[in-house]
Subunit: 146 residues, 2 copies
């Protein structure tokens, strides 16, 4: 299995793990070369922590890095403004977004700042997120500050 | 003492607390009305956690909130792109920046998105940060991804 495929699968598994814990089904990994160096998922419910979106949790898990210029961030759902700002601040050059049909809008912000953005829109990710939003609309609104 | 003055003093004290722990001297508080509801400081060194800038740590400390529309975020140093993105994402309407002479540049990003930005440039904050940058340039560069 390629690292690209492994990262996409890991995002899905981490999202489902979070869902199983009663949390938001959003997962993310940070990769360098052929290794995953950070794994994360949303922990708003699990830790009562509003800043731990999936992407932030993957960066937390990776710990201190000298540079992010040789890394790729994978995320099950398109990054919000917090996570997009973080990608730019950390100078992560490439982001793979597994789906942006249920949430998106910051792709252009990233592209304008030199980030390469790849959107997959794999059906399993779209379905997982749509089901969650239908089942738990209040929790979803809280997570995107609506 | 007014809540405004109390928040500014708390930012300074939290920054100094972090410095005493060997960390970056950047502190932040989130206030609602006349109460401080979140206190934080940079924890890159202390927890090996690159996402815990002062502002992020204050939001973590405040925990889940229904809304941030009636809150004010105070920070000892001007917010980086991660923290500025977070302020916009969380819809925090007002930010008080104790100094932006040693680091800044995202004030316009915030203002353009409707955030009220107040810059104090109190000398004790400017001096504290300048001294740290002079003493620990490598750690400072790491924190701003230079």
């Amino acid at each position: 299995m390629s690292i690209h495929t492994a990262c996409i699968d890991a995002c899905f598994d981490l999202a489902m793990e979070s869902r199983g814990e009663g949390g938001l089904p959003i997962g993310s990994v940070l990769a360098r070369g052929d290794k995953i160096i950070g794994r994360g998922h949303n922990r708003r419910v699990q830790q009562g922590n509003p800043i731990l979106h999936g992407e932030m949790d993957a960066l937390r898990d990776a710990g201190r890095q000298e540079s992010y210029r040789d890394t790729v961030l994978y995320t099950s759902l398109s990054p919000c403004m917090m996570c997009a700002g973080t990608i730019v601040q950390f100078k992560i050059p490439r982001v793979v977004i597994c789906e942006n049909l249920n949430f998106g809008g910051n792709e252009q912000f990233l592209i304008e700042r030199g980030v390469t953005v790849e959107v997959l829109n794999e059906q399993r990710f779209v379905d997982m997120m749509a089901r969650f939003i239908e089942e738990q609309p209040a929790l979803w609104d809280e997570d995107i500050a609506e």
